[in-house]
C-alpha cells in the first residue's frame, strides 16, 4: 500500500488533521474522514458540481482532487456558510425562492453562488447563469435558483448599505 500522507488544513475555520492514502479523493475525505456530509457525491465524473467546495477562495470539484492536494489549505464547505446559528442569505434565498426541489445539487449550487457573490456582489441574470454553469440541477429548471441568488445579492446589499452609512461611507 502506498505511503500515507499527513494532511493539515483549516476547514470552515477549524484546524483539522489526518493521515490519508494519497489516492483518497477530497470529497471522500470531507465526507468520510471529516464527517461533513453536506458536500455530495453526484456524478463522480466532474460534470455535475454537487461536490463543489471552496479551496483557498476558489470553487473546485472535490471529486476531481486528492485530499493530499489540500494540505495547508483553507477549505469552505456548505457547513461553513451558517453564521451564529443563522442561515447565510444564499441559504435563506434558496428557501424563500424555492430554489431547490430534491436538494441534491443544492450544496454545490450554494458554494458556486457564494464564490460568485464574493467576486461580483450584484450579478446580472446572465452572470449568475454563467457562475453556476458548472452545476447541474435536474429539478428546478434553474429559474428559481437564479431568483434565489438575486434574493441573496439584494439582502446582502441591504445589510451592507446601513453599515456603510454608519461608518460615514458613501451610500
Amino acid at each position: 500500500m502506498a505511503k500515507k500522507q499527513s494532511v493539515q488544513l483549516k476547514v470552515n475555520g477549524r484546524n483539522r488533521e489526518a493521515l490519508v492514502e494519497p489516492r483518497l479523493l477530497l470529497v471522500h475525505f470531507i465526507r468520510d474522514v471529516l464527517g461533513l456530509t453536506g458536500t455530495h457525491v453526484g456524478c463522480d465524473t466532474s460534470n455535475c458540481g454537487a461536490c463543489t467546495v471552496i479551496l483557498n477562495g476558489k470553487t473546485i470539484k472535490s471529486c476531481t482532487a486528492f485530499a493530499v492536494q489540500a494540505d495547508g489549505a483553507e477549505l469552505l464547505t456548505v457547513e461553513g456558510l451558517i453564521k451564529d446559528g443563522k442561515l447565510h442569505p444564499l441559504q435563506d434565498g434558496f428557501k424563500q425562492e424555492h430554489g431547490l426541489q430534491c436538494g441534491f445539487c443544492t450544496p454545490g449550487m450554494l458554494m458556486s453562488s457564494y464564490a460568485l457573490l464574493e467576486k461580483n456582489a450584484n450579478p446580472s441574470e446572465e452572470e449568475i447563469r454563467w457562475g453556476i454553469s458548472g452545476n447541474l440541477c435536474r429539478c428546478t429548471g434553474y429559474q428559481n435558483i437564479v431568483k434565489a441568488v438575486q434574493y441573496a445579492a439584494n439582502k446582502m446589499a441591504e445589510v451592507k448599505a446601513p453599515e456603510a452609512e454608519l461608518a460615514g461611507g458613501v451610500k
Binding site: 489516492r23 466532474s46 458540481g49 473546485i60 476531481t64 486528492f66 458556486s112
Partner: protein
C-alpha cells in the same frame, strides 16, 4: 470511483521534480491541475505508480509580455489566464479560456496541462497552432523550445521526453492589423468540442492576408494545423469566395471519427462552417 493506489511526491523545485521523473521513468506522471488525469485514473485509463505534484513549485504561474513573446507559465490556471489583463489583448485566448470545461474546472486546470495531455479534444492546442506558439520543455539537459506544430505526435503522445516538464508557452506577439478567434460548438457547458476552429490572421496594408494560422480541435488523432487552407489564403484577398474555399480545404484536411457527438459527414460540415466563422471573426477583429 476510486483511483488506483500511487505514491505521492511533492517537489518544491523544478530540478527536484525532474529528479523524480528520472528516478521513476514511465511509472511517473506529473500532477498539474489533474482535471484530465484524475478522471482517467478513476476509469483506470491511467495507472501511474507515482504522482509528482508540481503545484507547490513557485514561479510557474504567470502571464506576461517579454522579449517579443506573450509568455504563459505552465502552471497558470485557466481562470488566471481568463482574468489576466494581458490576456485581454489576445481575444483568441479569451475565447478559448472561456469555453474550457466549467468555472470549477478552470480554477484547477492549467494551460500547460491542457497541452501536455496531448488530447486532440482539448482547446488550447488548436489556438496555439493558430498563434504559431512554442512550448518550453525543461528536463535534465536544461530547456528546449519546441514549436507547437512538432509537439503533438499522436493520441495522448507529445514530444515531451519522460524527464521533461512543460514549463512555459511562448506566443510571438502579433504585429499590428492582427486578430484571432476561437469558435467552438459544444453540446453543453463542460463538454469537449464537437468541432472547434482557431484562426489567427494578420492583414496586409490593403486588407489582404499577410499571414494566417488555422488550428482544428477534435477532428483527428492529434490537434490539426490546416496547412492547405493556410497556404491557400497567404497573400490572397479575404473575400467570401476565398474564405469559403479555405474553409472547404480545412474541412478536407480534417479526419474526424463518428461518436456520440455526431457522424463524420456532420463533423466535416461543421469544420467548414466553423472555419468560415472563425475566419470572419478574426478578420473583423484584425481590422479594428
Amino acid at each position: 470511483m476510486i483511483p488506483p493506489a500511487f505514491e505521492y511526491l511533492r517537489p518544491t523545485t523544478i530540478p527536484e521534480a525532474i529528479a523524480f521523473l528520472q528516478q521513476h521513468g514511465d511509472e511517473a506522471k506529473i500532477l498539474s491541475g489533474g482535471q484530465s488525469l484524475i478522471p482517467m485514473m478513476k476509469l483506470r485509463l491511467a495507472r501511474p505508480g507515482y504522482l509528482i505534484d508540481i503545484n507547490r513549485i513557485s514561479g510557474l504561474s504567470y502571464v506576461r509580455e517579454e522579449d517579443g513573446f506573450l509568455k504563459i507559465g505552465g502552471l497558470t490556471r485557466e481562470a488566471e489566464l481568463e482574468a489576466s489583463p494581458v490576456t485581454h489583448k489576445y481575444p483568441i485566448l479569451l475565447d478559448t479560456a472561456h469555453v474550457i470545461a466549467d468555472p470549477q474546472v478552470r480554477n484547477m486546470a492549467t494551460v500547460g496541462g491542457n497541452l501536455a495531455h496531448g488530447d486532440p479534444a482539448n482547446d488550447h492546442p488548436a489556438t496555439m497552432i493558430a498563434l504559431g506558439a512554442s512550448v518550453v520543455a525543461t528536463g535534465s539537459n536544461g530547456e528546449r523550445v519546441i514549436p507547437i506544430e512538432n509537439f503533438f505526435l499522436s493520441l495522448f503522445t507529445t514530444a515531451l521526453q519522460p524527464d521533461e516538464i512543460l514549463t512555459e508557452i511562448r506566443i510571438p506577439i502579433p504585429p499590428a492589423r492582427s486578430g484571432g478567434a476561437y469558435v467552438k460548438l459544444e453540446r453543453k457547458v463542460g463538454d469537449f468540442a464537437t468541432v472547434a476552429v482557431a484562426v489567427q490572421v494578420t492583414l496586409d496594408g490593403s486588407g489582404g492576408c499577410q499571414k494566417v494560422g488555422i488550428g482544428l480541435t477534435n477532428v483527428g488523432p492529434t490537434p490539426l494545423k490546416a496547412r492547405k487552407a493556410e497556404n491557400f489564403l497567404q497573400g490572397k484577398k479575404l473575400d467570401d469566395v476565398n474564405i469559403t474555399h479555405a474553409a472547404q480545404l480545412a474541412s478536407d484536411e480534417s479526419s474526424p471519427s463518428a461518436d456520440l457527438r455526431g457522424p463524420v459527414e456532420y463533423k466535416k460540415g461543421l469544420a467548414k462552417e466553423l472555419t468560415k466563422r472563425a475566419l470572419v471573426r478574426a478578420i473583423e477583429r484584425a481590422g479594428k
